[in-house]
């Protein structure tokens, strides 16, 4: 038989989807009803949260309308609060350690899972199980484990607990980065003379770097945000959420907490935005946009 090879169409030449969100939305203009629904929806989501910054600038210790006057004294008081600063430092330390450890573990896990091992799907599901275990159950379980092993409650035990809740996020973020990773890129590096470690350093690492950064930021937020596990495991070294919980017992300290809450709100929004921006930066340089895969 005469075999004339059919010209194989290549994905690379497919035109980019230029449409996206904006153009789709203009096509489906739902009219006034949809606009009202959207406004109510957004109000429901954000108005309660926005009360925090609002009252944090109010010149009264009582959280009631009408507002009495503008002040920044709660912010000044917050900044001067030694205990709060210690709790913040603890939280940053725990967050840094937990995000670093869970991202490294997540990187190794995602790398193996992306290669398509036997039972990979089962393991991926198993690794994300902590997402579905209520934190209070996980907190109690970890507390039992730590006390039965006679390990003193400390920031270290909080880190261990946070790694458990952060790891599923790290795996999810990094796995999406590894999927579609052209394994022949690593083979090409080996072929060109680099060993396994150098290949990881020069090829794999730079290509998954946006995923690593996104994972670090996301897991940091998860750790920063956690109250329950820290509450069970922190002992006397309180983290910021645990500190805030303690402060709520004193009504006169409430405005300080509001100022703190507003600050955290802005900082974490900025971090999430940064994580998403980094992730999107990565997409255009993603290996799946190039080559054909195998």
């Amino acid at each position: 038989m005469l075999r004339s090879p059919a010209a194989s169409p290549s994905r690379r030449f497919a035109p980019q989807d230029q449409g996206g969100w904006a153009s789709r939305n203009t096509r489906h203009d739902g009219g006034g009803g949809l606009a009202i629904y959207a406004i109510l929806y957004l109000a429901f989501l954000y108005v309660p949260v926005l009360l925090l910054p609002l009252f944090s600038f109010n010149d009264s210790a009582f959280i009631t309308f009408p507002l009495t006057g503008f002040t920044t004294k709660w912010y000044a008081a917050m900044a001067g609060d030694e205990e709060m600063r210690a709790a913040l430092a603890n939280t940053l330390k725990v967050g840094a350690a937990a995000s670093l450890i869970s991202t490294i573990l997540g990187l190794l896990t995602a790398k193996v899972l992306a290669r398509g091992i036997r039972g990979g799907a089962f393991f991926a599901g198993f690794a994300s199980l902590p997402l579905f275990i209520p934190d209070i159950v996980l907190g109690i379980a970890l507390l039992m484990l730590v006390t039965s092993l006679d390990i003193p409650l400390s920031l270290e035990s909080v880190v261990v607990g946070h790694v458990a809740i952060c790891l599923p996020f790290a795996i999810a973020v990094l796995l999406s980065r590894f999927e579609g990773f052209d394994l022949s890129l690593e083979e090409a590096s080996r072929d060109l003379g680099e060993n396994g470690w150098m290949t990881f350093w020069w090829v794999t690492f730079p290509l998954v770097l946006p995923g690593i950064v996104a994972s670090l930021l996301l897991t940091f937020i998860v750790s920063f945000d956690d109250f329950l596990i820290a509450f069970f495991l922190c002992g006397t070294d309180t983290t910021l959420p645990v500190y805030i919980w303690g402060e709520l017992r004193f009504p006169y300290k409430l405005p300080n907490v509001l100022a703190l809450g507003a600050t955290i709100l802005i900082a974490s929004s900025a971090l999430i935005a940064l994580a998403e921006w980094v992730r999107r930066q990565g997409v255009s340089g993603s290996p799946r946009d190039h080559g054909i895969g195998i």
């Binding site: 194989s8 072929d191 255009s284 080559g291």
Partner: protein, 350 residues
């Protein structure tokens, strides 16, 4: 040419229960353009990956320039690969892609730059040094992958269907360019393809593979004109296969009876009278005429293919395809005589 530069001896590899490569022995000469040709799943890519060190064989040895490299990882053997996906590093520009393999070679900065500039000149992309992978066309990527591998000055360059993703016109241009580059650098190329025309036009020698085995190793002309088996004749080019049987077996010749009539052929293998055989004749080796009488065939279909016409001719119940250059015009239903040269007939035991 001494065919012992790359020696592959009794190489086997299984994936699960399926043998991907089954007891393959090949000896490839220095400077040769050698192709592994076969349908997908025939084991040609697995064989190439074992030569490159990406897959370890279950049995057998690979020796390169007198050195046993069977168990060496890819970074410890003097082979380089052009991957099917090209595997251009997307985070590096063209220059850094090409220089990637020179990192481990302990060259001076000036020497390294010189090699990269030479490589860019070889692939005629002198001004492309700063471009990223996503700014390159398919053909340009293919060239960068080639330059990146050749800049290492490997003893053997491995190419895994490097032209498969290109469109027909570009592929044909790249075939010529690739062959030119190979002659210039004088490096041994082992080229994997499923495209028999590509293999025939580029290679010094071709190994035809099927189901993990090598069916025949020969130069393109021999492969086309003297295939060793029916499978090779079937895979390379087009052929009319006619069943027949031996009517007379003399010491130097045999006479075979087929639908086309009796054929006196040089003796092949140990065929005795009565043995069932398959006769194969290429369509362009058959000719049609209307002068000879009595006519034994009748034209049943005609296809116009531009550079030639193809006629389906029914002869004694068998249908053969005859290719003729244009000028030869026969109409459907016309009575014709089919003729052939004796040396155009290929004979295989059934």
């Amino acid at each position: 040419m001494a065919e012992d530069f790359l020696r592959i001896e009794n190489l086997s590899k299984r994936f699960g229960a399926t043998p991907a490569v089954n007891d393959v022995t090949l000896h490839i000469a220095h400077g040769e353009f050698f192709s592994l040709l076969g349908p997908s799943g025939c084991g040609k890519t697995t064989l190439l990956r074992m030569i490159g060190g990406f897959t370890l064989p279950d049995a057998g040895t690979i020796a390169l320039d007198g050195e046993d490299v069977t168990d060496r990882p890819p970074n410890k053997r003097a082979t380089n690969m052009v991957f099917q996906s090209y595997a251009i590093f997307p985070h590096l520009n063209v220059r850094d892609n090409i220089a990637y393999g020179l990192r481990t070679e302990r060259l001076s900065g000036a020497e390294r730059d010189k090699r990269v500039v030479e490589a860019l000149a070889m692939i005629k992309l002198e001004t492309y040094g700063e471009r990223r992978a996503h700014q390159l066309s398919g053909g340009e990527r293919q060239r960068v992958a080639l330059a990146r591998a050749l800049v290492k000055r490997p003893k053997v360059l491995l190419l895994d269907e490097p032209l498969g993703a290109l469109d027909k016109r570009l592929r044909e241009a790249m075939q010529i360019e690739l062959r030119q580059i190979q002659r210039e650098v004088g490096i041994t190329f082992v080229f994997v393809t499923h495209d028999q025309e590509e293999a025939l036009s580029m290679s010094d020698r071709i190994a035809v593979m099927e189901a993990g085995r090598v069916l025949q190793v020969a130069d393109p002309k021999t492969l086309y004109e003297q295939p060793s088996s029916r499978a090779v004749a079937d895979f390379i080019g087009t052929a009319n296969f006619l069943p027949g049987h031996v009517v007379v077996a003399a010491s130097t010749s045999v006479t075979v009876e087929t639908a086309l009539g009796r054929m006196d052929l040089p003796r092949r293998a140990n065929l005795s009278a009565g043995a069932r055989v398959i006769v194969a004749i290429r369509p362009e080796k058959l000719t049609l005429s209307r002068e000879v009488t009595p006519a034994s065939g009748r034209v049943v279909a005609v296809s116009y293919l531009g550079d030639r016409s193809q006629f389906q001719v029914s002869v004694n119940g068998a249908t053969v395809i005859v290719a003729a250059q244009n000028g030869a015009a026969f109409a459907i239903g016309e009575a014709v005589q089919v003729a052939w040269a004796a040396d155009a007939v290929m004979l295989f035991p059934e």
